[in-house]
Symmetry: C2
Subunit: 425 residues, 2 copies
């Protein structure tokens, strides 16, 4: 059987998963593709650290061992980070090698550029593993929603924050405790900033927006709010209202404009996203024809992510056999402007403290009434040191109304708005 020789840059959790799968599932891969996949060369910083695979692959520190090896047709980039991953992928594409990457930061940031370079060199560039680990969401949107108009994609696309919020909700842990627990179990990194501040989810929503709507969205063009300010009090109150607090990325089509945001949200406990717990991820895709569909699975982990890398490799391999390389992973391009704050309407959960004295609640209701905003549920908690905590679920209001409300409350001076979370019913 003909062999397809692969090169790889990086040999961490995902890279090791790829090595393991190529060997253990060789029979299945051959049955499906008619080719035998062989990882020939792996570029690593320190070959000494990877001696356990030294007799299986050629370990090297030299990129040239990939670049100058005409036998290697496909290069897998699993080193992560933007630089020098970007420059390495550029070199590989210019050397006419197909590239499979698991690098969300890079694809979200420099995807457009790299996609153009791949096309120019008649090479495939695929990155299924960059979003939601083991869930095959990008290829599904590209292939199975090709004829539907997607109206919204919303997802739990970061396992670290979902683990922390699940623990805060189910075990009543504080944010700090839950984070420590996540770090202990390997679900959070030593420096969890990118995860807990929502940036990682932001990268994924940028990529999902491109696939769903065909439009380019950069992560600094939309609002990203993490979970590091989430208060246990609000997690509890969410549950009392019949919701569970999740970090939700939303990409929505509003009147032929696009709205993207990552922020904590209250998800109705009967909504399928509410059942996605711990390190798992899920993406709900809503299409005009198909309605609501949900794709659930492990959001990270070596083998699940490796499976997404391998699905790219088998697709590139099929393209090589059919001589159809060089077509974009996502064939849909349809540039859209961003939606105005007046167009984006949701219900919100507001958590406030106000002085426990006559007239304060009236101030709040007056401000809301002036903004033409109303609420469906309200709870006042026992007063604490002269202050009352008030939690509200509003009726639908626009993002613009919410912004005005925040300003008006600042002007009042006595009422503090702790958070305003989107409500998903």
């Amino acid at each position: 059987m003909d062999e397809i020789k692969l090169g790889m840059v990086g040999l961490g959790t995902v890279g090791s998963g790829v090595l393991a799968m190529v060997q253990k599932h060789a029979a299945k891969i051959s049955a499906v593709t008619g080719r035998q996949l062989v990882v020939k060369t792996v570029v690593v910083k320190n070959p000494q650290k990877h001696q356990q695979v030294a007799d299986l692959v050629h370990l090297t520190t030299e990129l040239d061992d990939l670049l100058n090896d005409s036998e290697i047709k496909i290069v897998i980039e699993v080193m992560g980070g933007i630089h020098p991953a970007k420059e390495i992928i550029e070199q590989m594409l210019r050397a006419h090698k197909h590239v499979v990457s698991a690098n969300k930061d890079l694809i979200a940031t420099a995807g457009q550029e790299l996609i153009a370079l791949a096309k120019q060199n008649h090479c495939d560039l695929m990155y299924e593993a960059s979003v939601a680990g083991g869930i095959p969401i990008l290829r599904t949107i590209a292939d199975s929603f090709a004829a539907d108009q997607i109206t919204e994609v919303k997802g739990i696309v970061n396992g670290t924050t979902n683990y922390i919020l699940t623990q805060m909700s189910q075990s009543n842990r504080s944010y700090e405790d839950a984070l420590k627990q996540a770090q202990k179990l390997g679900f959070a990194e030593a420096d969890p900033t990118n995860d807990v501040q929502g940036r990682d989810a932001g990268y994924k929503m940028a990529i999902l927006s491109r696939f769903a709507f065909g439009t380019n969205v950069a992560v600094d063009q939309f609002k990203v709010t993490g979970i590091d300010q989430v208060d246990q009090v609000d997690v509890q109150q969410a549950a009392a209202f019949g919701y569970t607090l999740k970090l939700v990325g939303i990409a929505r089509l509003v009147d032929q404009r696009v709205f993207v945001e990552v922020a904590p949200a209250l998800v109705n406990i009967h909504h399928p996203l509410a059942q996605v717990n711990n390190e798992n991820n899920a993406v709900m895709v809503t299409g005009r024809a198909v309605g609501d569909t949900l794709f659930y699975g492990p959001g990270a982990g070596g083998l699940p992510t490796a499976n997404s890398v391998l699905s790219d490799i088998t697709t590139v391999t099929k393209n090589m056999i059919l001589k159809t390389n060089g077509n974009s992973f996502n064939g849909y391009s349809h540039p859209l402007p961003f939606a105005d704050a007046t167009m984006v309407k949701d219900c919100y959960y507001l958590s406030l403290t106000l002085p426990d004295q006559p007239g304060e609640m009236q101030k709040l209701t007056t401000v809301m009434a002036e903004l033409n905003a109303s609420f469906s549920q309200i709870v006042q908690k026992a007063s604490d040191q002269g202050e009352a905590r008030v939690m509200i679920i509003t009726h639908q209001m626009s993002k613009a109304q919410l912004n005005q409300l925040e300003l008006a409350l600042q002007d009042l001076g006595t009422i503090q708005l702790h958070c305003a979370y989107r409500v998903i019913n």
Copy 2:
């Protein structure tokens, strides 16, 4: 822009959905495929019944209007049933037309034959819509699990029975009442036999088995149990044990053998399948590398199913552009024998009545002990006319042990086993 002309046979709910989508989503389809799709000719029994689309398409009763029209490259079969759908598809393939079908009965029954004929004529034959309506499960298994070894596929793949069971569980309706309600709302047909007796789910599991394991399984080669014997008492007791009763199709790899079954099962309320309610469907795919993934969405309905048909059409269109037609929808072939009853192990829920008198429970426990089967939960309900109802959840036991248990209880004569449902934790 170049046009691709389509023909269609049948114009029911799904056919009408296809017509609507091709028109309403024309811009998106063109953006993705670079071609304009036009439904040119539709073959129906009675053109008079479809006058509302008479100015959009050529309505005809003559198959020859498709067969002899060399402009028509792709034919959509949405008439359903095995005959004459099979003969019509054969004619189309022989006339070198690509075929997209939504016909599970036909694909499950005669799929192998038709696939061979398509290959022989270098034509595409795709049938995403034949399983789980709007959920893009077949293409996902074929493309995104190509390198993983799938170990189990289990799903709620029939919307009618799921609607009925949801109503029995949530509204305490009897089976008969819930069925009537389903018929009233259009979730069940006037003759619901194929759905409630599990045959429809059986067809889908046969197709899923082929995609997951590469092996051909016919619906009469495995056991299919429907929901028409499900008792409200057991639905309630399932809930009390922390489970919800669902009609679950299982296709499992056991020691390089395959096991397939459709039967009611108790699903742990924390399992993602337990949250799939009413007419919705979901398929859980477990891969050796990826672990558990779940695909959820509408299991039927005109537009959702039409979206799956359209995903096939856009794929065929891309293949036409790339000149890569004629490859199997499912590229994985790996014939496997069936697993023995001794190899297939599960926990079971047993519901029994026994005479409410001394020694009867001992007979039951003796039989179980002799078979080396044990239980983890047991409940005896208040006696009724001298009989006690006993519900048990067993530890893992093999299908062979279960069969022996059924025979042993028959031999005893006094203990009646009402049902033995698989337990999914």
